[in-house]
Symmetry: C2
Subunit: 310 residues, 2 copies
C-alpha cells in the first residue's frame, strides 16, 4: 500500500470480502482479534510484518534489531488489548544465512524479555527481506480492551513521552550521513522499542474503556480510537520525549506507548502505583461530538505514517 | 534459502538460538507446534508463506488461486497433526490494490471450504509479493499426531495418488509457452490443492502413530517422518496420479496428501470407510534399521524442492 488511505481502503475491501465474526468475537479492525479459545475463554491473535526498505533499512539497524523489533511490535498489539503474550510464529523471507543468526539473537532477546515463546514459523527464499510474525495472547479471565469502548467524559492517558522513535530515526539517518553521532537513548528507542505489557495490564485494572498502541502516530492512532468509540477527543497537550519535537510526538509513531481512556483518573494513578509503574500522563478527554479532534486550540491532525520509509 | 539443505541448516540455527519447549509441548520441527492452550487443552500453531517468483508466478495462477493455496497449505499443516483448523491471520506484502480483491476471494473460498476464519493480519507495501499466513487448530480432546511416533512394523499409507500438482505445473508452463492446453484437473491440483482434514481425523481414529503432509515431495517428507521416528522405510510402490509420472509422485511435492504410519491396516480401512472417505493406499512399512530408505529394490531418494521455482 503506498499510503495509509490505500491501506485503510484495502482493509475495508478485505473486511467486506470475508464473513463477519460471531457475537462476542472481534476480528479485523482492532490491535488484535479476540476469538473463542478451543479450551474455553478467549484468545488474542495478531500479526505484524516488517519489510526491508519499507519499515527498516539495514544501514540503520542490524539483524538483531530487526528480530527484536518485529517481535516487540507484535507484543505491543497484545498489550494494547490488555493482554499478555503467549506464543509467536516467525516467518522470514529473503534472509541470507549470515542474517539468520542475528535475527534469531534479537528474537530470543525479545522472547525472553516478554515471556513470549517463538514456537514455529516458516523460512523462504525471496527477492526482498520480510519478517512476518503472528502472535497469540490472553487476557486471562478478564475481557479484552477494545478501541471502541471510550465514552464522553473519559480521561485520556498515555503511558510515556512520545516522539523518541521518530527522533531516533532522524538522528540515525544523520549519523549515517556523517553528521554526528545519534544519542544512544534515541537510537535505542527506534531500534529496540519497548512493548508496554505491564502498563496495559495496569490500565485494565484501572478500568480502561478503550486502548490502542502508538504505532503509526498519536494523531492517527487516537483518531482510530475515537472513530471506533464514536467520541471526539480534546487534548490539552502531550508529553514530548527529550530530544524529540512536538511534531515527532504527535505524528512520528513507533513509540509503542499505550493510549487509553478511563473514567476515573484516581483509580488510574492507584493502579499504576500499585503495579510499581511510572504514572501515565493525562493528555485530555473524550467528548460527545464525534467529529472533534483538537489539541489546545488547534485541530489534531490524523497524521502519521503506515510505513516510515515510503 | 537457496536449497533444502540451506533451509534445514537455518532451521537448526534457529532451534539452537531459541529455548527448548517445556515437557508436553512441541515447537519447531513438526508440521505445526503444539502448545498448552490458555483455557486448557492444547493448541496447534503453524505458519506458511508463499512468495512470488519462488512459490508461484502470476503468469500461471491468478490472485484468487494464490489466496486459496496460501490458506490451504496452512490448513494442511493442521491436518497433518490430526487437527482441524480454527483461525487464520493473513499478512500480505506488496500487493497492488487490483490484487487484493482476488486474493480475498480465494481466501474467502478456502476459509469457507475448511471452516477456518480469517480474523486478522497485516498489510504492507513492499518490493515483492508475499502472502504469509499463520493458523491455529485443535485436536479436541485427542493428542496431536507427530512425525516422530512411527514404530518398526507400522504400515505406511498415503491418502491419495501423488504427482498431480507437479504434472499440473509442467502442463501450465507448457500452456504458457503455447504448447497446448493444461488438463483442467492437473491445473486445479497445482492451483487449488486440497487439504485433507477429514482424512487426518480418520487417521487419528485409526490409531496413526506418525503423520506428515506431502508438501515438498514424498521422498523428502517420508525421510523427515522416518528420521524423526528413528525408523527405516521400505515402500512397495506409490499410487501415481493420472497424467503424472512416477518421478512427479516421488519428488514433485505440493500434493498435500497425508502420509501416515499405523500399526493396524484393518483399523485404518474401517476408520476411513466409517468416515465415508476413499480408502488410503498402503505404500509400504516401517523397519527397524533407521538408515533404510527403499522403494522396491531401489533407494528412495530424499528428493523434493523446498521452493518450486528456484
Amino acid at each position: 500500500m503506498p499510503s495509509a488511505e490505500g491501506e485503510l481502503a484495502a482493509i475495508e475491501a478485505i473486511r467486506r470480502g470475508l464473513p463477519a465474526p460471531p457475537e462476542g468475537e472481534t476480528w479485523i479492525g482492532d490491535d488484535a482479534a479476540v476469538v473463542a479459545a478451543a479450551g474455553g475463554g478467549s484468545l488474542l491473535l495478531a500479526a505484524d510484518v516488517v519489510v526491508e526498505g519499507v519499515h527498516f533499512g539495514l544501514d540503520l539497524v542490524d539483524a538483531a534489531d530487526v528480530g527484536w523489533k518485529a517481535l516487540a511490535v507484535n507484543v505491543s498489539d497484545i498489550a494494547a488489548m490488555g493482554g499478555r503474550p503467549l506464543h509467536a510464529l516467525v516467518t522470514v523471507v529473503g534472509a541470507g544465512a549470515w542474517m539468520i543468526e542475528g535475527l534469531v539473537r534479537g528474537l530470543a532477546e525479545a522472547s525472553a524479555a516478554y515471556g513470549c515463546s517463538v514456537v514455529g514459523g516458516d523460512l523462504s527464499a525471496g527477492p526482498c527481506l520480510v519478517v512476518s510474525i503472528a502472535i497469540t495472547g490472553t487476557t486471562g479471565a478478564l475481557p479484552a480492551v477494545h478501541r471502541s469502548g471510550a465514552r464522553p467524559g473519559d480521561t485520556l492517558f498515555v503511558t510515556g513521552p512520545l516522539g523518541r522513535s521518530s527522533a531516533g530515526l532522524r538522528a540515525l539517518r544523520a549519523q549515517a550521513a556523517g553528521q554526528g553521532e545519534a544519542p544512544p537513548e534515541l537510537a535505542a528507542a527506534y531500534r529496540r522499542p519497548t512493548a508496554r505489557v505491564a502498563e496495559g495490564l495496569a490500565a485494565v485494572s484501572a478500568g480502561a474503556t478503550a486502548m490502542i498502541d502508538v504505532s503509526d502516530g498519536l494523531g492517527i492512532d487516537l483518531d482510530r480510537l475515537a472513530g471506533a468509540s464514536g467520541v471526539g477527543v480534546v487534548l490539552d497537550d502531550v508529553p514530548v520525549a527529550a530530544g524529540a519535537t512536538r511534531a515527532d510526538a504527535l505524528g512520528g509513531g513507533e513509540d509503542y506507548e499505550l493510549v487509553f481512556a478511563a473514567p476515573d483518573p484516581e483509580r488510574v494513578s492507584g493502579a499504576f502505583a500499585a503495579a510499581g509503574l511510572r504514572a501515565p500522563s493525562r493528555i485530555g478527554e473524550c467528548v460527545t461530538d464525534p467529529a472533534v479532534r483538537r489539541i489546545g486550540d488547534e485541530p489534531l491532525q490524523a497524521s502519521g505514517w503506515e510505513h516510515r520509509l515510503l
